[in-house]
């Protein structure tokens, strides 16, 4: 099963994604992190195949987070999911 980490500063956005992708629960193992710091902690705890993050976040923003991920976990696929178009 693929492991996917979703990162956003809004918990409601994460809730929504979790519920929406509930149907895929048998295909993907999904985790949710509220903000960049939480995402890095999650990465330390276990590895992920894919990381999907919001761009604009207070504190550590998406770009920064993905920079860290690229440095530390180069095999993790990095995807930006943003409300900005």
């Amino acid at each position: 099963m693929k492991r996917i980490l979703f990162v956003d500063d809004e918990s409601m956005v994460l809730d929504g994604i979790r519920r929406m992708l509930y149907t895929q629960r048998n295909r993907w193992e999904m985790q949710f992190a509220l903000g960049g710091e939480a995402a890095l902690q999650a990465c330390e705890a276990s590895s992920f195949d894919v990381i999907v993050t919001d761009m604009r976040m207070p504190g550590m923003d998406g770009a920064t987070l993905l920079g860290h991920i690229r440095d530390r976990y180069p095999n993790t696929a990095r995807i930006i999911l943003s409300g900005h178009s």
């Binding site: 409601m12 956005v13 809730d15 929504g16 207070p58 409300g83």
Partner: protein, 914 residues
């Protein structure tokens, strides 16, 4: 006649003078005595010669000679008698007819002459008895005629006498004629006798000539001796004559002096050693209260004056008698008999006898009372004018027409740098050289003085003692005596200061006139009553008038002809009365064609005695600027809205995203639950039909197991709640946006500031939420405030955005990741206060004074246009009468404080806090 001179000498004085002159000429004739003497000698010689001739003739032709000698004078006498008779006759008739006493006397005299002439003729003719008889009878007839005429006159002259008889007059006339004829006869007889004698004597002359020659020699000798005797006698007579004349002159002088003493209008007196009057004249007597000078004689001053006064005189005179020193022109004061004070100029001299002893004094006193009074008046006037002259602030001077100062006053000397008036008059001897700085002007001065005889406010530059120049104005008049200009008199004023001031004034006037005329802004003066006093061309053109004059003339009521809204005029006047000035007073004005323009006026009131007499100030057409400002505000609003748009999109996108996710989940969950529900339906039908099989139950169990109902039961309500919450969030943002921009409201409306601020915070959330936590502390007691909501929100937005930027700068510089923004409202007594506090960088000291200036920004290019705070200030201060200021500390943050008046009345402008 000289006796009468004593009594009426005044009239007789000229006559006396005449006498004296004739006397003098008489003495001159007598001085030429030697000539007279020689004439006498010659006559004597001639007589001697005649005697010798007579003697010779007598011896030669005795009777003929005598006759010829006698006839000649007799004929003459008879002719004289005839002439005198004619006169006598004439005068008698006058006397008789006109009753003239003088004519009668003359006639008598003439009658005497006739008789005397005839008598003489008779005497000569004594040897001729016939002729003698004729003459004697004629004499008798003349005497008779004289007596009759006199009688007739007496008869005519007597008052009550009978008028002279015609018969008598006729008789007299006849007798007259007869005498006349007889006289003529006598005359012709004598003449013919004389001719006969003359012929005879001619014959004798031949013999006589020889005799004459002989006798002449003797005569010359006799003449020599006789003339010596005669000269001696003449000299003796001359001496006698001089003596006689001297005596007569002395007498004359005595009388003249007496006449003078008596009539001179001075006091003349002689006193003896005891002070008794010996001589006094009538003038003195009158003064002393006596009727005639004689009353004074023998008396002393003590008889007339008070003891004090009299003893004063007495002492003085006694001293003179002792010392022999005369007293000349001594002024003394006296009181006359009428009690008037009289001033007398006295000269007293000691009187000497023939041995040189002082026997008294002689005095002459001249009444100088009138002169004294005049002198006193003159002195007073002189003192007065001297005071003016000495103390006058203006220079006063006198000069000769040639330009030499005669006198100058101290002020004049001081003006020209001299230590004293004397120094100045001594130094300047020629005004044209030493006085006038410009010789041409000096020449003009002389010319004008010469032509017109005076100048008034003649302005020129003059040289001072040290060579420096001074501007003066002179007013001078020429003083004439007997038609000749003798001097100039005038005043001279130092006008250097005035000249300087005039120059400066002119320059200033020119300068300000230039500014006034060419200024781009309108400059105006007006009365509080609403009339323009002056406007500059710019002002007139701004308002569509062709000239300032047209504008001044056209507008007689500023309130209604100048203001588009008369209410603004009232506000203007109120400000003027309360504050004395307005600054940047904005209003709409009316142009000549009725169109409106926006104005800003800065005007102050000019007071005089506490009353506003006029307004003065500037007026600028800001229509264009106002439009630009509106556009700028709009542009800035659009800019910030544009800037916000992305954030807002994000803000809306986020809830939209999870709303969509949740709805999708609910759709899936519904499908799952639908399938499960179908299984349950089958199970229910089977149960109803009693066909419930294990297999059917097994299928349902599998379906339930596949659906994870527990999860769905838990998540579906949450998904619904979160969806609804998301929708609320979206609508909140949308309504906040609407509230923020207030596109429909262009006028002030009562506004709930807390609500408005909250909306703005919402709209701007995306601007601050990534860098700061925002805390609000709204005062719920805040009343509604009259506001332009769109513009107010703009201000709050600008400040929040600025706060966010300031904090993000701190974050970028490696500070804490999240700052803090605190928005507070407070209800103060006079105003509502809004504080927006951040933990940003603070405002650098250099920028503090300029942050409200348009186009001033410290932000990176593209991050700000420098309009935010300028607009904030314009909106809060200009449009809401509020104030905006800040407190800042570098590295700690900034707090902006906005105050809005609760009652709409403008707040005093706050100083920018350091």
């Amino acid at each position: 006649m000289q006796t009468r001179a004593f009594t009426r000498p005044c009239q007789r004085l000229p006559k006396g003078k005449q006498d004296m002159q004739s006397r003098v000429s008489a003495s001159r004739i007598s001085l030429s005595g030697p000539i007279k003497n020689s004439i006498a000698v010659a006559v004597l010689g001639a007589v001697g010669l005649l005697a010798i001739i007579l003697w010779t003739a007598f011896t030669a032709r005795k009777h003929v000679g005598i006759a010829s000698l006698s006839v000649f004078p007799a004929a003459l006498n008879s002719q004289r008698a005839s002439t005198a008779f004619e006169r006598m006759n004439h005068e008698y008739s006058d006397a008789v007819v006109m009753q003239e006493k003088e004519a009668l006397a003359n006639a008598d005299r003439e009658a005497g002459t006739v008789v005397a002439s005839l008598d003489r003729a008779g005497a000569f003719m004594a040897f001729n008895s016939g002729r003698h008889q004729q003459i004697v009878s004629l004499m008798h007839r003349v005497t008779g005629l004289q007596a009759r005429s006199r009688m007739l006159y007496t008869a005519a002259a007597t008052v009550n006498a009978i008028p002279p008889k015609q018969q008598d007059l006729a008789d007299l006339s006849r007798e007259n004629k007869a005498v006349d004829t007889a006289l003529e006869t006598l005359q012709s007889d004598l003449t013919s006798d004389f001719r006969a004698e003359l012929d005879l004597s001619n014959e004798l002359f031949g013999i006589l000539a020889i005799l004459e020659a002989v006798v002449l020699a003797g005569v010359i000798v006799a003449l020599f001796f006789s003339s010596r005797t005669l000269i001696k006698a003449t000299v003796q007579r001359r001496e006698d004559e001089v003596l006689r004349q001297a005596h007569s002159a002395q007498e004359y002088e005595r009388r003249m002096v007496r006449a003078m003493i008596d009539n001179i209008p001075d006091y003349i007196y002689v006193k003896d050693a005891q002070g008794r009057f010996m001589v006094a004249n009538p003038h003195l007597a009158r003064m002393m209260g006596a009727e005639t000078p004689e009353e004074l004689l023998g008396k002393t001053d003590f008889d007339f004056y008070s003891r004090e006064v009299a003893s004063g005189f007495y002492e003085e005179e006694q001293e003179m008698i002792r010392s022999g020193q005369p007293l000349y022109n001594h002024e003394e004061t006296n009181v006359d008999s009428a009690g008037n004070v009289v001033h007398i100029l006295t000269t007293k001299v000691p009187l000497l006898d023939s041995d040189g002893h002082i026997i008294g004094i002689a005095g002459v006193g001249h009444d100088i009372t009138a002169r004294k009074v005049m002198e006193a008046a003159l002195r007073e006037a002189e003192q007065k004018y001297r005071g003016i002259f000495d103390k006058a602030v203006v220079g006063i001077f006198q000069s000769t027409p040639e330009g030499c100062f005669l006198s100058v006053n101290p002020s004049m000397a001081f003006t020209f740098g001299y230590d004293s008036p004397d120094e100045m008059t001594a130094s300047i001897t020629d005004m044209s050289q030493h006085f006038f700085a410009n010789p041409k002007r000096g020449f003009e001065f002389m010319l004008v003085m010469d032509r017109i005889g005076g100048v008034k406010n003649f302005e020129c530059e003059a040289s001072r003692k040290d060579g420096s120049k001074v501007w003066i104005a002179m007013s001078i008049g020429a003083i004439r005596e007997k038609g000749m200009v003798v001097r100039y008199e005038g005043m001279c004023e130092d006008i250097t200061e005035r000249k300087k001031m005039e120059g400066a004034l002119r320059e200033a006037e020119l300068k300000y006139r230039g500014i006034f005329d060419t200024a781009v802004v309108g400059i105006l003066q007006s009365t509080p009553e609403g009339r323009f006093l002056s406007v500059n061309p710019s002002m007139a053109f701004t308002f569509g008038y062709d000239s300032p004059e047209e504008m001044i003339a056209s507008i007689s009521d500023i309130t209604h002809q100048f203001y588009a809204d008369p209410k603004r005029s009232e506000e203007f006047k109120l400000s003027m009365e309360k504050l004395g000035a307005v600054q940047n007073f904005e209003c709409e004005g009316l142009r000549k064609d009725g169109s409106k323009i926006w104005l800003t006026m800065s005007v102050r009131a000019i007071h005089e005695n506490g009353v506003i007499i006029r307004y003065e100030g500037m007026c600028e057409d800001i229509t264009e600027r106002k439009h630009l400002r509106e556009q700028l505000l709009q542009a800035q609003k659009l800019e910030s809205v544009g800037q916000l748009a992305a954030g807002i999109a994000h803000e809306i996108n986020t809830p939209t995203q999870y709303i969509g996710d949740n709805v999708r989940f609910l759709k899936d969950a519904f499908l799952d639950l639908k399938g499960l529900l179908e299984n349950y339906d089958k199970l229910l039908s089977a149960a109803k039909d009693n066909t419930l099989s294990c297999k059917a139950i097994q299928e349902v169990a599998v379906a339930v197991k596949g659906v994870d109902t527990g999860y769905l039961m838990e998540e579906i309500p949450k998904a619904i709640d979160q969806t609804l919450e998301g929708i609320t969030r979206v609508s909140t943002i949308v309504s906040a946006m609407k509230e923020f921009s207030h596109p429909d409201t262009k006028e002030k409306i009562p506004l709930d500031l807390n609500h408005a601020i909250n909306s703005t915070i919402t709209v701007a959330r995306n601007e601050w939420k990534y860098v700061a936590d925002l805390e609000t502390e709204f005062d719920p007691s805040l009343p509604l405030i009259s506001c332009l909501p769109g513009e107010f929100n703009q201000v709050i937005l600008n400040l929040i955005v600025n706060a966010s930027h300031a904090i993000s700068d701190v974050v970028k510089k490696g500070g804490p990741e999240m700052g803090k923004i605190k928005v507070q409202t407070r209800n103060c007594p006079e105003w509502a206060e809004i504080l927006i506090q951040d933990t940003g960088t603070g405002i650098p000291e250099k920028a503090r004074s300029r942050i409200f200036d348009p186009f001033f920004t410290t932000k990176a290019i593209g991050k700000g246009t420098g309009q935010g705070l300028a607009i904030a200030r314009s909106v809060i201060v200009d449009k809401h009468g509020g104030s905006i200021h800040f407190e800042t500390e570098e590295g700690k943050g900034t707090t902006f404080i906005i105050r809005l008046p609760l009652n709409g009345k403008a707040l005093p402008i706050q100083e920018v806090a350091a």
